[in-house]
Amino acid sequence: MKITIQNIRKNYGKKMVLKDVSFTVESGKCVGILGGNGCGKSTLLSILAGVQQADGGAFLYEDKNLFTYTRQRAQLVGYVPQGTPLIEELTAKDNLSLWCSKEKMEKELSGGVFKLLGIDEFLKVPVSKMSGGMKKRLSIGCSIAHDPPILLLDEAMAALDIACKQKIFEYIETHKKRGGMVLLVTHDVMELQACDEWYILKDGVVHPFTYTGDTHALVRSF
């Protein structure tokens, strides 16, 4: 089981953001996408999530192009966008109820993913009174509530404290062990350590990169 991103192109008017993006994410692997600001990382994820349309290319899962099978894509992909995709006036429980059934929620809270993310600690707290870390964990909980095998994380751990990051890392590890695939867009060196493969997006094309912990080498490759 794997996902294949094949020759994806995207233009904004005359500006070509993605020229020819192609790579593969194997089952149980986490792939990190790096790049400078405005290079098209988030655009790539939003295309894969179905928010934007690509001008060309394919997103293959078990030989099915998910750009065509949109319903299946909605079930297979868990997308954590930038920001907080939450309803501020409502509690964590209310927000989760939008994305999963009551039974599923109880199951996940008693020992599943929601428990792992620590959502059970603030279940009845309104989002407006939550810290940034709580919101992010809840956002991830909402995005993956339907157990998708493909996880797209767009700077999901930005501005979080180490404890929160640790919880999310734990979840990513669990997801990988279950055979899931993770595509992670980040600027954070610490997050890169959770990845198995790395790509640098530059001038609309992805370049493979091996991260060894040498930050200077990473910066030079931008």
Partner: protein, 411 residues
């Protein structure tokens, strides 16, 4: 799994107590303005008097009689009160608005008139632009001059003729004739009738006020909802799109609770008014019959549907709470202003008057005014519904753009 609609409904319910308080305050304010306008209008119709000072030589008893006759036999809609006073006092009162104008009767005015000398009366008024008020004053000047001068000339001429022919006026013919004179001349007062120039569009002015202020009320009713609907963070919309919920479905699920809550709020404030109207003999009962109130409430539905779609569009465009609040407030006020919800639209230039009928607020008012009309064309309802659809489509377009842009600018 709860639907997006049910969560939106829950959101709206959470802010409803606050919104209800704002609604009641807004409604009370507008009701006060409406009752003030209606009372002022009724008072204008029944009691409006032009107070005109009379200064100079007013000692002559026959002149006093003519003035008294003038006041008593006024058949016009507007009556005139003559008040005798000193010239300085008249000047002071004119500057303070106590009198509309004052007349200066020259010395020996009556005697000179008896001799047939044309001594003019001086009519002093404040300076003003050439408008309906000035025209009105001019008419009054002419009228007063005619009444006083002509009646005096006629009655004194007759008296002189009687005396020349040694005929005693034992039957009071001169006085009777003077009175007839005044009465006849007073027919001219009809030129003072105010032409309302279609401003009522076939309904009473009080009902026009009611419809205009109701539109203003409904347009402002959405303002407290800005805090619920206006948001800069589009990630929830993005996530919903990625999970297969279209922007149109999202907006529909947001619009419906908003529309229903507005409908509920309108019912909360208007139903007691209808009950009061049906059970009491107050100004409300004069304003609309129970049947008209019911028609009015039914016509509320398309208007509120359009208003809620308009609100949603503004919330989408505004983006954040401050921008959306300002945008909503000024857009609502401007549209209401141009549609004649504050001032009768005939006071505006013709181009604006032509535009009024095509604005959503103008159509909304026309729709509400159908409550009072029989066999009226229903085009305003169609216009209101069309605007509702247009606003909804525009809101969809703005959200689609923002959802796509949300990720586009971040990557």
């Amino acid at each position: 799994m709860k639907s997006y609609f049910s969560l939106q409904w829950k959101r709206v319910m959470k802010v409803l107590p606050f919104v209800s308080v704002v609604t009641v305050v807004l409604f009370a304010g507008i009701a006060v303005v409406l009752s003030g306008l209606i009372i002022a209008d009724q008072s204008d119709d029944k009691n409006m008097k032009l107070r005109i000072g009379v200064t100079g030589d007013t000692d002559n008893s026959i002149l006093k009689m003519a003035i008294a006759a003038f006041q008593n036999f006024d058949e016009s809609r507007f009556t005139i009160t003559f008040v005798e006073m000193e010239e300085k006092q008249a000047e002071k009162e004119l500057s303070e608005g106590g009198v509309t104008a004052y007349l200066i009767l020259p010395d020996d005015f009556v005697e000179k008139a008896m001799r047939g000398e044309m001594e003019p009366l001086y009519y002093v008024t404040s300076a003003g632009a050439t408008n309906i008020v000035t025209m009105f004053k001019n008419e009054i000047t002419t009228l007063v001059t005619d009444v006083v001068v002509s009646s005096q000339k006629g009655s004194f001429g007759l008296q002189e003729a009687l005396e020349d022919n040694d005929i005693a006026d034992t039957e009071g013919w001169v006085d009777e004739l003077a009175v007839e004179y005044v009465s006849a001349i007073m027919q001219r007062a009809k030129v003072l009738a105010v032409n309302e120039l279609q401003i009522t569009s076939g309904v009473r002015i009080a009902n026009l006020y009611l419809c205009s202020l109701t539109v203003l009320f409904l347009m402002l009713l959405g303002l407290p909802f800005v805090a619920v609907y206006a948001r800069r963070d589009r990630s929830l919309n993005v996530l919903l799109v990625s999970r297969g919920m279209s922007v149109g479905k999202q907006l529909y699920d947001e619009w419906l609770p908003h529309f229903l809550s507005l409908l509920g709020l309108a019912a909360v404030v208007f139903v007691p008014v209808i009950c009061l109207s049906a059970t009491s003999n107050t100004m409300l009962a004069d304003l609309l019959s129970t049947q008209e109130w019911l028609r009015y409430m039914i016509l509320f539905v398309p208007v509120l549907a359009m208003v809620s779609a308009f609100n949603l569009f503004i919330f989408e465009v505004g983006g954040n709470v401050v921008s959306a609040t300002l945008l909503h407030f000024f857009a609502a006020l401007c549209m209401c202003y141009v549609s004649g919800c504050f001032y009768p639209v005939f006071t505006f230039p013709r181009a604006v008057q032509a535009m009024e009928r095509f604005l959503p607020t103008g159509l909304a008012r026309e729709t509400l005014m159908l409550s009072f009309k029989v066999d009226a064309a229903f085009y305003p309802v169609i216009g209101v519904v069309a605007y509702g659809v247009l606003f909804f489509a525009a809101a969809c377009a703005v959200r689609t753009y923002k959802v796509r842009r949300w990720e586009g600018v971040c990557g």
